[in-house]
Chain length 204, copies 2
DNA sequence: GTCTATATTTGGATAGAC
DNA sequence: GTCTATCCAAATATAGAC
C-alpha cells in the first residue's frame, strides 16, 4: 500500500519514471512545441528527444495532433487543480484573487510552464473538433475565475464586468511568458502584486 | 500634380489599385496568415487568393518568409503613425493614454486588423535575423507608450512601473482579438473605457 | 516496444517559354 | 508578369521484421 501511494505521489508530482516513454514524449513535446511551435517541430525531433526513431512514436500516439491534444489535456487538468487549491486557500475574496493570480503566474513560469504556454497560445494548431474539446475543458478553469470575480463585484472590490475583466487578465498574464524572466530581479510575488494593483481600485 | 496627389492619397489610405498584385498579395497574406497561421498557409493558397499560380508569387517576393516580413514591416509603419496621431491629439496625459488605448484597439479590430494580429502574435514564425529586425522596428511604437506612461507616473496618474504596465497592457489589448467582436453590443469605446478603468487608480 | 524501410503527400522554390 | 513543368526536401504515417 505504501509503495503504491508513493508511486501515486510521484505521478501526482509529475516526476515520470525515466523509462516511461509516453510521459517523456509528452514532456519533450511540451518543451519543443513551446520553444519552436507545433508546426515547426517534427515527429523526428520529438523521437530524437527521447532517444527513439520517428516510426516508434506512433506506437504511443496515433498522430502528431494527438500528442498536442494530450499535452493540453493533461496540462488543463493540472491547471484546474492548481487553481482550485489556490481558491480554497484564501479566506477573503481579495486574498482569493491574489492567490488565483499568483497561481496562474506560477503555472506560466514554474515547472509546468511548457505545457501551459502551449495550452494558452497554440490551440489554433488543433483541428476544429479537438479545439472544441479543449475549449470545453478550459471552461471549468475559467469558472473558478468568474466565480471569484463575481464575488469581488458584489463586494465592491472591483467595478468592472467579470467576463471582460477575466479576459483582459488572461491576456495580461499569458503575455508574461514573452517578457517576464523568472529568477530575475522581479519575483513572481512582485509580479502578482503588480497585476493585483491594476485589478483593485483601492488596495490595503 | 493633382492626379499624383490623388494617387498618393489612395496609397496612404491603403486602397491599392486593383491591378497592384504585390499589394493584393500582401493583403491576402495578412488575412490568410491571421486566419490559419503562417505555417498552415501555403504559397499556392496565397497565389490562388489573387488569381495567379504559385510560381508567379516568386516574381514579387523572394521567399514566403519575405512576405511575412513585408506584412509586418508595412503594418508596423501604420501602427506607429496611428499611435503618433493619437498621441498628439490629446491635451492631458490622461486623455493621451485613453487615445493610445483606443488607437491600439482600433488597430486590432479595424480595417488593419489582419496585419496587426499577425504582427502581434506571429513574429516567432520569422527566422532570428528577421525577428530582430521587426523587434527593433517595434521599438519606436513602444517608445510612444513608454513616454506617455512615464508622464502619467510623474503626474501621479498611475503608480506602477511603466515598463511592466505597458507589457501587461500589451497582453490585455492583444488578447482581445480572441474574444472581442467588433459590431457587437460592446463598442470599441466601451472596451477602451474598461481598459482605462483598470489602468487608472482614480478616474473622473 | 523499437527498428528498418518506405509509401505518400505536400510545400517551397526554380527555369524557361510566352 | 504569368504560366508550365518540375525539382527537391521534408514531413506524417504505415508495414512488417526483430
Amino acid at each position: 500500500m505504501s509503495v503504491s501511494a508513493y508511486e501515486l505521489s510521484l505521478q501526482m508530482a509529475r516526476t515520470p519514471r525515466l523509462d516511461d516513454r509516453r510521459e517523456r514524449l509528452l514532456d519533450a513535446a511540451a518543451r519543443l512545441f513551446r520553444e519552436h511551435g507545433y508546426e515547426r517541430t517534427s515527429v523526428r525531433q520529438l523521437a530524437e528527444a527521447v532517444g527513439i526513431l520517428s516510426g516508434s512514436v506512433f506506437h504511443h500516439f496515433s498522430s502528431k495532433e494527438e500528442i498536442l491534444l494530450e499535452v493540453m489535456r493533461s496540462t488543463i487538468e493540472r491547471m484546474i487543480s492548481s487553481l482550485h487549491e489556490a481558491s480554497v486557500s484564501a479566506d477573503t475574496t481579495e486574498a482569493r484573487l491574489f492567490q488565483l493570480i499568483r497561481a496562474e503566474l506560477e503555472l506560466l513560469h514554474g515547472p509546468t510552464r511548457d505545457g501551459v504556454a502551449v495550452t494558452f497560445f497554440q490551440w489554433h494548431s488543433l483541428g476544429p473538433d479537438k479545439q472544441r474539446h479543449i475549449l470545453s475543458m478550459r471552461e471549468e478553469y475559467e469558472n473558478i475565475w468568474l466565480e471569484a470575480l463575481q464575488q469581488a463585484l458584489e463586494q465592491g472590490l472591483i467595478d468592472t464586468d467579470p467576463f471582460v475583466t477575466r479576459r483582459l487578465l488572461t491576456g495580461a498574464n499569458g503575455w508574461t511568458i514573452y517578457w517576464y524572466q523568472a529568477g530575475g530581479s522581479m519575483s513572481l510575488d512582485d509580479l502578482a502584486g503588480q497585476v493585483c494593483h491594476l485589478l483593485f481600485r483601492e488596495r490595503k
